[in-house]
Symmetry: C2
């Protein structure tokens, strides 16, 4: 291909991130996946980022990792640096939320924006204003589409299959994996495990201290309810792969449940509350169960033997791999580049 | 004149502000002053703003006054709205700090930016990057100029002389007028008054609660040290006009001391610590005194009879009136418009 693609990553964290940084991670996965397929890719990210493509950077380090940094300054210098050379690219792929859109009225290069979720209804007016001309929006699940916006495609986040190995024979525990926060249903997961009479392992950062202290910590006994702290990449693969099931009793419309896809990559089925993107991520009775409440979830635990773990793996590889994501984005690029 | 001028106000507050909003106030003073002189002015501000020129607005109300608002969304929609129609103006006068600069690489219209002070050294890189091309910087005092930037002019903030009436015969009190904050030297003002044996009236918002509790409140007895709360426009004129002197013992390099100019408008001399813009605002021994410490300030109080209050008024009207500011900006505009 001779097309020149600019991938605009956020500058909150390095690309790829050292630990946390989900948008930077997706931007990196796309940039590297395109390079592997021979595309001419320029990654706009922090100066300490790395890519097998070309790196363009004016901000030394992620503003979340740099005491000297001012987020607003970093953002506008980073974005304007790309926009001021927009005409040297055939396509810009924006992973930086809404601010770059407000520079697109001045450039002719088409801009694809992956909307990685809406932080607030207050940002909708920007997306509405720029839902036109050379702007194209991609949703990360059908569930996350805003009814007042027009989208070009849904492309699911893609996972590097090297990070999650298939495990045929699980151990006898259920897993909660994610931020400790009321939205994520840590308390509900504990109740499901108690009701089903299973051991529960809990892994994740404590995002809501008060919730942890009041609703989670009182149940932790390191016997049937265990808190494992935060897992690095290796432990994450172990925890997810050896679980009999991942419990995902969310209380919000999650745009895309990354751990739900990751668990299935390991062959681990998922019991999830039927909200947000869950129906797109789980095939009921084949790769997990979609339930409405704690009682139904506890009953689903008894049904786990009906699930073939290989089906979970196959479904995840087919739909949520990095390769699938890159192929889907290439299809979007071609639609725009070849049908201007 | 047939030139079309766009004045870009911030959208933190209404233009002009109801109470607080210093940058919005200056933007308003300039816009209205230009209209009075027959210029074609479009004010870009919140929708609840008003002007005798044309109002262009996409943000309903200042984000500091509107619970529904998101500051970042309001800022980028407001700025891009002007920039996307930049070519319909002969000149843009920016009062909105650094963010608009990052859109100027796409437009041909000259942009004058009044730098109303640097909130942090972290914003300097943006000013450095855009100190070129069709961008022109104006400082609000010579003292506030950053050594690495090039400026077109210094224009002092202009005060509406209707708001401050001359008073020949003051009462026997000293005045502290401003935010209660260590930078502003509230504690030092108290010590000066004590040492000089004068009554001190203190007026201003309590910006630093702990500083107020620990360093200011213990001295307040409503006898010789009085706290008057926050003054509205009428009381402000009364307090400033009837003071024997304004004490301004600042501990930082204040870019422009608005109350220092306002006091002199009323005929009230100012005793200030010799920092920042103070040497540009005060004529020593003629409109006040520049001192180095509490002792010198207390001695200066004894010298107050040497000051003719009419000289203070004359100096302020000549240098810090709205009319003077507008004339100075018109001179800057003409330099740019007529020598492209």
């Amino acid at each position: 291909m001779s097309y020149k693609i600019a991938v605009l990553s956020p500058v909150a964290w390095r690309t790829p991130p050292r630990h946390y940084g989900p948008w930077e991670q997706v931007a990196s996965n796309i940039a590297e996946g395109l390079v592997e397929k021979g595309w001419d890719v320029t990654l706009f990210a922090t100066q300490d980022s790395f890519t097998k493509g070309r790196l363009e950077a004016v901000i030394p380090a992620g503003y979340e990792e740099d005491n000297e940094a001012d987020a607003k300054v970093a953002e506008c210098l980073h974005i304007s640096y790309l926009m001021e050379q927009a005409d040297t690219f055939d396509l810009i792929h924006n992973h930086f939320d809404f601010l770059p859109l407000t520079y697109t009225g001045f450039i002719k290069t088409p801009v694809i924006t992956t909307i990685h979720g809406f932080s607030s209804f207050r940002i909708i007016p920007v997306y509405k204003k720029y839902n036109t001309g050379n702007n194209y929006y991609v949703s990360i699940s059908n569930a996350d589409r805003h009814p007042e916006l027009t989208y070009t495609a849904t492309v699911y986040n893609g996972i590097d299959s090297h990070d999650f190995s298939f495990n045929e024979t699980p151990e006898n525990y259920l897993l909660y994996f994610g931020r400790i926060h009321p939205d994520k249903g840590t308390f509900e997961a504990i109740q499901i495990a108690k009701k089903a009479g299973w051991q529960l392992l809990i892994s994740g950062i404590i995002q809501d201290e008060r919730y942890f202290d009041e609703k989670v910590a009182p149940w932790i006994n390191q016997d049937d309810i265990l808190y494992m702290g935060v897992a690095g990449p290796h432990q994450r693969n172990q925890l997810l792969g050896h679980a009999a099931a991942l419990l995902h009793p969310i209380r919000f419309h999650e745009p895309f449940g990354l751990s739900v896809a990751e668990a299935q990559f390991c062959g681990t089925p998922v019991i999830a509350f039927n909200k947000g993107s869950m129906p797109e991520l789980i095939v009921p009775a084949k790769t997990g169960f979609l339930v409405s409440n704690i009682e139904e979830a506890a009953l689903a635990v008894a049904d786990l033997p009906r699930i073939h773990r290989r089906h979970c793996r196959e479904w995840a590889v087919k739909n949520f791999s990095k390769e699938k994501m890159v192929d889907d984005y290439i299809a979007v690029y071609k639609t725009i580049l070849e049908n201007p």
